[in-house]
Symmetry: C2
Subunit: 212 residues, 2 copies
């Protein structure tokens, strides 16, 4: 039933699906049973036709006049997005941001399990953060043979971003989640997702200044 | 000299500028003195003409054949992006992600200072995280009169996202940095920046599955 998960979806669709999930989760918490794409459209500010198209990728059908069953839609969206499945990850760079992400249990709820951290700082190598062991980055290849993690998370200073990405790539991870603002390059068989939270500050600061 | 900071820049430009900054910061740490837009282009995978256009918003000129002075370009980019200026922020929702963000000193380096946290959980109200006091959300308006923070950061469960955004909006913040996957709506005079890190997982999971 889940073969549709293996279809390569357009990124805009993949970015919208979690919005719908967030909204139907809210409806679910309010005990609401059914929702139409028109209702979702009003709330989320996306065309109803676009929503119907996005949801057509899922194994779910809305009923005429009634819409989608909220519980089923939430479960199907979450399952489709892979949030119900466990994906193991290595954290590269256990500084301020890396340590914060290890402590964020929200990632667990979205199917990401950080199994090990790696750093060059001798003060934290050998320690544990929330039960996650921190190893010397030199041990990455050896440890990855044991952990076989799918994902490497990059939270190192920019000057180490590319070399860390190369190490991860060689260790055989399938994807790199890059939290640095550095544009890392790896071979085509490694998926890259960039999430530079600090870069978002730049947009916000500019918008604030421009409104003054 | 900084009046250009008040120009409303296109969002794609604002998202690229931190990439250039990350790269020139790396060059700076390697002791390199000059860089051309062609070199940046090769490294970052953005057209050299686009880079020259993006950098034309800044108070900096490259020299023919030599390019930009690395130290000046780094300083000018960082200053232009507002990373040298302090922006105060309130954290709404001091759960797992909110607490993690408060502990991330990286935000400080990019000009963001979280001055207070707000939550509904009585177990943490009255406590401090890294010196940041946590108040009852009911005190938001009163405390904001004192703090006069520019930015409200939303890290609440989705079902509380809109009401929290409304509270922030009424309290007079200029911008809301939304870490929830919920599409909040506020009046046009409030800047919204969405950073849904969990939604990025959906894109990564799909790409991994599609490659199997």
């Amino acid at each position: 039933m889940n073969e549709k998960k293996d279809i390569l979806l357009p990124e805009p669709t993949l970015r919208r699906l979690p919005w719908y999930l967030a909204y139907v989760n809210m409806l679910q918490s309010q005990g609401i049973e059914y929702v139409s794409s028109t209702q979702i459209s009003k709330e989320i500010n996306v065309d109803a036709s676009q929503i119907a198209k996005d949801l057509s990728f899922l194994n779910i059908k809305g009923k005429t006049r009634i819409g989608y069953q909220v519980v089923s839609l939430a479960a199907e969206l979450s399952n489709f997005l892979g949030f119900h499945q466990e994906h193991s990850a290595l954290m590269i760079g256990v500084g301020s941001l890396g340590a914060a992400l290890i402590q964020d249990s929200g990632l667990n709820q979205y199917g990401l399990k950080i199994v090990a951290g790696f750093d060059i700082n001798e003060k934290i190598i050998g320690s544990e953060i929330c039960g996650v062991p921190v190893y010397d980055i030199a041990e990455l290849a050896v440890q990855q043979k044991r952990y076989k993690a799918d994902i490497g998370i990059l939270a190192v200073p920019v000057e180490h971003a590319q070399e860390s990405a190369d190490l991860l790539s060689e260790s055989g991870v399938k994807a790199i989640w890059n939290f640095t603002p550095f544009r890392i390059r790896v071979s085509d068989d490694v998926v890259i997702q960039n999430t530079s939270i600090y870069a978002h500050l730049a947009v916000m600061y500019n918008r604030i200044n421009a409104k003054k």
